[in-house]
Subunit: 92 residues, 2 copies
């Protein structure tokens, strides 16, 4: 089963859309390992990397972070407006 | 269903382990949109961000890239050696 099964929404008409999704999972089972902020640290820097390549309105960016006892996750979901996407096309 | 269900391996004894996983999916359905190398571009820069925070032997890093007609994905799976992980603990 593909991990990105939520991409398979059966939209009837082919809709122009562009979307970037980033999932980060940090599993840490170390006795006395203490908490690690790795996901929070990486989040800022990964967002900065993405922002270098496209400027997307803040409303189009959804970020979810979840901190569990042994697994912390980060989900970033970016709906790229198609006019911006068109601008990103590689040089012809 | 949690997208990181493969984390749920029922190891009998609590094993010290630390693992970082990054999944990137770029969906692009734009008529005449042409191919985009966004996933390949982001891959290098995201790996550079991670390398800034931990130096992991190359053998511990698995990278899978898949380029589909409308969805390209990148999976990075890093097994962090626990001695390195211990060094990453936040200052007490």
């Amino acid at each position: 089963m593909s991990l990105f099964s939520f991409f398979k929404r059966n939209t009837s008409a082919p809709v122009a859309r562009e979307r970037l999704q980033v999932l980060l999972a940090h599993e840490r089972t170390i006795v006395g390992g203490g908490e690690s902020d790795l996901v929070a640290i990486l989040r800022e820097e990964i967002m900065a990397v993405i922002a270098k390549h496209m400027s997307v309105p803040q409303d189009n960016v959804q970020i979810k972070m979840d901190r569990g006892a042994s697994v912390s996750t980060l989900e970033v979901d970016i709906e790229i407006p198609t006019d911006i996407a068109a601008g990103m096309r590689p040089a012809a």
